[in-house]
Amino acid sequence: MIEFHQVFKRYEGGHEALKGVSFGLPRGEMAFLTGHSGAGKSTLLKLIALMERPTRGQIILDDINISNVKDRQIPYHRRKIGMIFQDHRLLFDRTVYDNVALPLIIAGVSDRDIPKRVRAALDKVGLLNKERQLPIQLSGGEQQRVGIARAVVNKPPLLLADEPTGNLDPELSEDIMNLFAQFNQVGVSVLIASHDLGLIARMKHPLITLKEGRAIRNELAEVDFA
């Protein structure tokens, strides 16, 4: 699903966030990305979603070298990826339903399919009864579930999550992680950046640990790309 070949990222101002990272996430696999803050986790996810471009190296997503994706095509690239953020990134002036429907409207899904698919997504995250509420009326865990419903409503083949449990207590965190595991079981590839090491250890999925931009532990490096 994802391949990184010796990827470097240097930000303007000289900060080197990634220094030659290589790994491969097979289709339908779920993996974790750990490391201290500033180790390069977020940068790695941003590169996949084309929120940033690598300075050097190749990234292959779904058999496409994303260096070749032009700026104009980025929206279509992003529609293949469901993204989940620590701060949810919901639109607070719209209902839960409208937030989840957003990717469908953007993708041009027909009116008759939208309600069905929004409710299916809300059902999966257990928020079917809250569709008329505003995000502000929900708890942090519920808001994160809305974010997940929005990420999966378009049935993307890949989910990326950046610290999805960062603000949640352990019990809720485990629920959220189990939700990701459920999506993974139906064939969605999942890559989660998290520093919740205890939780990750229990999930028994491959792990990449970044430190200062390098992969110091890499369970997805079976293929030596270098």
Binding site: M51, P75, R89, L102, G108, D111, P157, G187, V188
Partner: protein, 323 residues
Amino acid sequence: MSPSRKSSATSYKISFRDRFRTALKLHKENSIQTLLDILRQPTNSLMTILVLAIALALPSAFYLFMTNAKAVSQSWDGGVKMALYLDDSTTEKQAQDLLTQLNLRPEFKQVTFVSKEDALTEFKDYSGFGDALDYLDNNPMPFTITLEPTSSFSDPEQLEALAQELAGLQQVDQAKLDSDWIKKYNSILDISEQIATFVSAMLALGVLLIVGNTIRLAILNRREEIQVIKLVGATDAFIRRPFLYAGFWYGLIAALLAALMVNIVFVLLKQSTSQLAQLYSSEFSLLGLAPSFTLGLLVIGALLGLTGAWVSVRKHLKDINPQ
């Protein structure tokens, strides 16, 4: 690959027909929504719309003024007269022959002969020299023929050419048109028109800038929302559309208001101008904005709004990227 995997990998593909339908629906929704947004926040948008309306009303008022000023000068063109002053050596017989010739020409509806004696009497009456002229040995006045062109022959250039032709006749000393002051009036009109065009262009630029700035603020207000919808795969066209519609509505509503303002001024002025025209026993009646002009004003207003929004959106949406 299992069936479920396959479905998850292909389900984001959407048929062209659905895409087209959704695009139509979005246009409808965006246009109505932005209009409602503008109308729902009268305090925010009213000031902008008023400023735009004034900026559009001024050129329209110029236009109204120019059309009427031209109509006035045209009503005068019909009344231009020409005077032929004959050579001193011309005999009365020759003058009468010329008169007969001129009478046969189709360009004139009236040809009048003024004898030397009549001319002198008239000059005495109007000049104020009075009896002093009696001391002259002989009558210095030439024979004069006054010509009144038909209304179909009132074009200033045609008349000018005709005057030159007649001046070339053997017995004619001078051919004078009494339209010199109309020429001056018309050239003043020309200058005013150029100034009005220039000022109108400036005001149109002003409309562009005002709409552009209003849209810029709207974009900055919705910065976070734009970031989020870019993240979930919105194209620039999708993000741009509501802002373009907002600009379009601003321009169109302002143009409507401008047309209304000019028409109100017109109704107020019509009364007093018709009184003035009566005093000059003229049939002149103030011309209002033609429907075609009003339509043009609305189209121009909407286009200026759209263009202003377009410029602003192009410049500012690029800078907003998800972090």
